[in-house]
């Protein structure tokens, strides 16, 4: 049953705006807004994947941007080496992200609290320095992608409108996936482990392997966002996976509402639009953004979604 609550109105308006955005951009001849929102949609997808482990699983990963880089470099490197097909590039991007998540998850999930934060950060920074050291692929300067991932006709990623809609469809698919996951048996185990890991083990759940699978799903999903981001920018560089980018993703999740399926989308739109608007007003825009974030963290624990009067998802 859908009731006319503030939240439902805002959600419907946001989704409609995202779907109709290219129409507006076309009518207003505003190419910039389309580029901005393509980027927002892609980073929203990365934030949605982070929310799966951070919001639902309580795993405070500070290295999530690493998957953006891995997914992006998979596309960039294969394009550079003469493999332009997206049907190869994207599975490689997903596979490499999944593998990376499996390895660092297997090690870092044995730790808790601050140690978990530090070890995920350390692994992501390691990946950053490894990529920055790849002289053949531009090292620190990054790598230009001459041609976007090739798919079968009529899908053409070079077409900005088509590419936007592809990203949007994938974001919606990711949201649907997360929504199914968190309400499944698997999802309840993950949320139980966030709430009280020891009790979960006492009633008979080997929580480690569930958390690890969750960690790998989230990493893989973020790897897909990385492949999109590389196509969007026609460029990959180590900066994609720098730790401050991981911090941005955390801010999006917290700002939007941890543990709410749609929260990270609110967070990504709010953060990136604010950043855009504020940086147009003053170059010291972070002085305004910082206190705003503080207010949300201090007074709106449920983030934007909480402010909208969200009922818990059941």
């Amino acid at each position: 049953m859908r009731r006319l609550t503030l939240r439902n109105v805002v959600v419907a308006a946001l989704l409609a705006a995202l779907v109709l955005l290219p129409v507006y951009a076309g009518l207003a001849h505003d190419r910039f807004v389309l580029t901005l929102f393509t980027r927002i949609v892609i980073l929203a997808m990365a934030a949605v994947s982070l929310n799966l482990i951070l919001g639902f699983g309580g795993m405070m990963s500070f290295g999530h941007a690493a998957y953006l880089g891995i997914g992006g470099y998979a596309v960039g490197i294969l394009a550079f080496e003469g493999v332009p097909s997206g049907l190869v590039q994207w599975p490689v991007a997903l596979g490499a992200s999944a593998l990376f998540a499996l390895v660092i998850g297997a090690l870092s999930l044995r730790t808790r609290g601050v140690y978990f934060i530090m070890i995920t950060l350390a692994f992501a920074q390691m990946a950053y320095y490894i990529v920055a050291g790849l002289a053949r692929y531009g090292g620190d300067d990054g790598l230009t992608i001459q041609k976007r991932s090739q798919f079968f006709a009529p899908l053409d990623l070079g077409d900005k409108v088509q590419f936007y809609y592809l990203c949007l469809v994938l974001l919606f698919a990711a949201l649907y996936l997360v929504w199914r996951l968190v309400n499944s048996r698997f999802g309840l185990v993950i949320q139980g482990a966030r709430s009280n890991d020891m009790r979960m083990r006492a009633i008979g759940f080997p929580t480690y392997r569930y958390k690890l699978v969750c960690f790998v799903i989230a990493g893989t999903l973020c790897g897909l966002a990385g492949a999109l981001l590389a196509n969007h920018a026609d460029f990959v560089s180590p900066a994609m996976m720098y730790w401050t980018r991981s911090g941005d993703l955390i801010v999006m999740v917290v700002l939007g509402g941890m543990g709410s399926v749609l929260g990270p989308v609110f967070g990504a739109v709010a953060l990136l639009v604010l950043e855009e608007v504020l940086s147009g007003i003053t170059e010291y825009w972070q002085i305004i953004l910082g206190p705003l974030l503080l207010l949300v963290v201090l007074f709106a624990r449920g983030g934007i979604d909480g402010l909208l009067g969200k009922v818990r998802h059941d």
Binding site: R180, R185, L188, V189, Q191, N196, R201, I203, G204
Partner: protein, 258 residues
Amino acid sequence: MIERNPAAPLLQIEGLAKRFGGVVATDDVTLGIAAGELHAVIGPNGAGKTTLIAQLAGQLPPDAGRIRFAGEDISALPMHRRSHLGLARSFQITSLFLDLSVLDNVALAVQARAGHSFHFWRNARLEAELRQPARAALARVGLSARENLPASALSHGEHRLLELAMALAGQPRMLLLDEPMAGLGPEESARMVGMLRDLKKELTILLVEHDMEAVFALADRITVLVYGRVIASGAPADIRANAQVRDAYLGEQEAGHA
């Protein structure tokens, strides 16, 4: 080969020991609990009662000794495996999923015994297979009306009942109850005693409890721990008459009440 003697106790503890630095928490504890028995463990604060339960549940590895459950050596099994064998535990300090609903709390306990949980798609909150046994366990402890509230919204007494419902929902063979009466008012305590009296008809129970009235009302046998050591073990009447126990514990408590 595992010896299966029908007369053997369901839970057999042999020479169990645990020390934390210089502190001896359990010291060479040997104890057998027969199937169907309600066995109470009492002792002054710091006697090692909670440590004993933690070792039985698999939360703390023992330094020495063996634990056999239903003829199987479980000394080295991790917590979740012991739970699968039918050894359920309630916590002295309420340990729940406070941000999940009351029904979700119990349904998770059911789910734990329903095979692996790598089911990613179907909505678990709509699965009768999980929800029905959970609702039955809630009905049993009288919390049916509260099932949709977050567990954090319940009172302390209701938390203890929810703990019990979760332990029951897994359909265990044996319950390890760590002070289920702790912090309950007289009325709630009486309700809990009535419930445990019902449960002991179906289950083997190890009860750690400070409420002596409840212990003597419920227990078939009582073991007294002092400084991690068993100083007496026997029928309630024998324990009451035991001079050493009176000195170490009961007398002291009565003096405290006077």
